[in-house]
Symmetry: C2
Subunit: 233 residues, 2 copies
């Protein structure tokens, strides 16, 4: 019978970031030398030679948030279907991040993206100037996935100016990240395309004009060169 | 000077559904008879003849949630720019509704739509089997607008089976609406298109076959009709 830390069944190990966990796999009542294999998810763990037979331990050090959900499995070398798995449940307060300073033009759309990592799952809210954001019909939309909490505002107006707080409330802690939105006046954009079009039209008109009067222009040129030679061309 | 319920400035009137509000508009220190007009948003309110001069009152009865945000404006008939507005702030606990029973096939996508009306705005959450729903990466997405709170689940699996609660927590009250999701086995659909294609192919083959042997068939037909006439065709 295979055990990990004395348990014969798969189990979940609650731990926290920065701590470490030591997992001891042992074969109970072994009648012969049994090789043990350790896997981290699907990948084999390199074991020292003296740490393989009948009893094998691995130490998971400096556990981080990213190790949440990772499984360690001890398998019997002779029959890999005999195994015990341990899944790390790394609990940590909400970690929030995002582009917290945006300047947008009146009338444009804006998206405040609050990246969130939390275990256990945090309850998410958007506050504006420290009170629950009142969602305006067809102007505000909130989208939440396991990793992000977004506020989309369409056709931004001056009153949208202000500080928006992405608030994550989990059983461990409540965290908040402020997003500053600055709404500037709508700049009357220089209409590039129409200007280019106008230049092209003027240029073409000049060309055709010159082509149409090329004889006269040639005459004038000839006169310039020899003002006295009144030769009829 | 124009006043409504003694106030000279626009103001917000807090009220609740089912109650009523009476708004008295008066001209202070009037030196002559002044006609008063009442507007509900942009629409004129019909006033009885005796209820127009120097003082005019309107009674807003059986206020409902839909009256939230509605403005009543009293204007001076002589100069409509002189006015006082009252905006109704109808506060009510969250009202939730939605299609709370869905059966879907494994592997398909599903959307639980919780329609919500609340004033003040409610904090919205999805619970599953009475604990905060743990959003799974790239499988769960929540979308919230001022009127709806949706949970989208892609590629539904059997463990998604269960009761999802749309929870609305406002300063007045916390309300909840349960959504039952039943995930049934994936039915191996009858491949209609391939069957049709096969029939068409068979039919065409038969046709061409018959056409190719039409002479032989004709001969057989002739023999059938007059078995003794061995005339060479």
């Amino acid at each position: 019978v295979l055990t990990v830390n004395g348990k014969t069944e798969n189990y979940i190990l609650d731990t926290t970031p920065g701590s470490q966990a030591s997992l001891i796999c042992a074969v109970q009542n072994h009648t012969r030398e049994e090789e043990l294999l350790w896997y981290r998810e699907e990948g084999r763990v390199d074991l020292k030679s003296g740490n393989k037979i009948n009893s094998s331990s691995v130490c998971v050090s400096s556990i981080s948030e990213n190790d949440n959900g990772i499984s360690f499995t001890c398998r019997l070398g002779r029959d890999q279907s005999v195994s015990v798995s341990v899944v790390l449940n790394v609990t940590f307060p909400p970690l929030l991040s995002g582009n917290d300073f945006q300047t947008v033009e009146e009338g444009s759309n804006v998206k405040l993206v609050c990246n969130v990592k939390a275990n256990p799952q945090a309850q998410m809210m958007w506050y504006k100037n420290s009170s629950l954001l009142d969602l305006e019909k067809s102007r505000h939309q909130i989208q939440q996935t396991s990793e992000s909490f977004q506020l989309s505002i369409t056709k931004v107006e001056k009153p949208d100016n202000g500080t928006y707080s992405c608030i994550a409330k989990s059983s461990l802690k409540t965290e908040s990240l402020d997003f500053h939105l600055i709404v500037k006046d709508k700049t009357v954009g220089v209409p590039i395309e129409p200007i280019i079009a106008a230049c092209v039209v003027i240029f073409l008109t000049l060309c055709f004009g010159l082509i149409a009067r090329r004889k006269k222009i040639m005459k004038l040129c000839m006169k310039d060169k020899d003002p006295h030679s009144e030769t009829a061309l």
